[in-house]
């Protein structure tokens, strides 16, 4: 899933720690939502929602309708600003590779979104359905259900899901550290090489 370059959402950004929009960004988003809310109901129906997502992302029709069903948690056939804001945060976290951070920071709302039937459990099939949005790899999904299904019912309750988010954020932070070290070492070697070339040879 990619955001269209130069679109309005492309210019918004999430706070990297809390994975939320700033007040200024929310204000801009509200104005944008009101432009799309042509029927003055503070909601977007499925047609407007589809054309909006189709315009700003590369998602296909089935994926867009899956997202619509996920966000329409009251089953009224319309999306309000709260759900719209949630969607924008998810899209931006995906765009900026902050999925682990987002799921960790907002584990409860994400769990409730993924719990489609409301039985306070998430099945493997539910997670596979939304994989394109949260970017959890297939191998990681298998590990998730193998390692964190403590109750053994092949589904995750909220505590098990929370454990998974803690585990994935630890892995993410380790990855970040390793990348920083690599970059630091690379910079050092490059600067050393540069210094060697610049300094004149000493004649003995």
């Amino acid at each position: 899933m990619k955001l269209k370059q130069g679109s309005f959402l492309w210019y918004l950004y999430l706070d990297k720690i809390y994975c939320l929009l700033s007040v200024r960004n929310v204000k801009a988003l509200m104005e944008y939502f009101q432009l799309l809310d042509v029927h003055r109901k503070n909601t977007l129906n499925d047609v407007l929602f589809f054309h909006f997502l189709h315009h700003v992302t590369n998602l296909n029709r089935p994926q867009i309708m899956i997202i619509f069903d996920m966000l329409d948690w009251n089953a009224v056939g319309e999306i309000g600003f709260d759900q719209f804001y949630m969607l924008v945060c998810i899209l931006l976290s995906h765009q900026n590779h902050l999925e682990e951070q987002f799921i960790y920071r907002h584990s409860r709302p994400v769990f409730e979104l993924l719990d489609l039937d409301g039985d306070l459990r998430i099945s493997l099939d539910d997670l596979k359905l939304y994989n394109f949005l949260f970017n959890i790899k297939k191998q990681e999904l298998k590990e998730l259900y193998h390692n964190f299904d403590i109750t053994g019912d092949h589904r995750l309750n909220y505590k098990e899901f929370k454990l998974f988010t803690l585990f994935s954020i630890d892995k993410y932070q380790e990855r970040q550290k390793a990348e920083k070290k690599k970059q630091h070492l690379l910079n050092k070697t490059v600067s050393k090489q540069g210094a060697l070339f610049q300094s004149p040879p000493v004649l003995t």
Binding site: Y32, H39, V47, H51
Partner: protein
Amino acid sequence: MEEKPSKASGESLVHHGSEESHQQSDIRKLWTTATLSQMNLNLPLSKVEEWSDTDGSSFCHQKSGVDPGDNNFKQELDEHTLSKLELHRGRSLGSNLEERESRTEAEKSSSMSSLSILKQTPHRAYWAEQQNRLPLPLTELMENEAVEILTKALQSYRSGIGKDHFLTKQLQRSIEGLKKRRNKRLHVS
């Protein structure tokens, strides 16, 4: 004469006052009126001085009460009274020169103060925009994108529920409203 510079400064003062009362008005008006009032003040100071010169000379003639072209009148007067009149005229000329200088200085200071007010005016418009409204480029981007999305949605509405459905008409009106706003902004800029 001296009316034009003071009128311009008066306009800028009025404009300055009106900003506070019309804070919710379109920010673009603030920018356009700021530039319009600035145009009136693009007068070289030499022109201001010219107008004050003409003022001074006419004032000088009125004060002395003597028409310099009236030779017959001069011939009838004594030399003493003539010298007295010349002295008096010289003094009035001198005082008029001083008055003229002070007036030009006052005009200069008023024009400078109005210029400084005008320098502040675009900054006020800028800060009002920053705090109360979204930046115009962002608003433009949002509106253009909304028009594109809604135009595509209109086609779905027409094929799904028909042209005459009230929701289709409502959507059409919104699109037309957005397009009008966009065109208005393009004409203003």
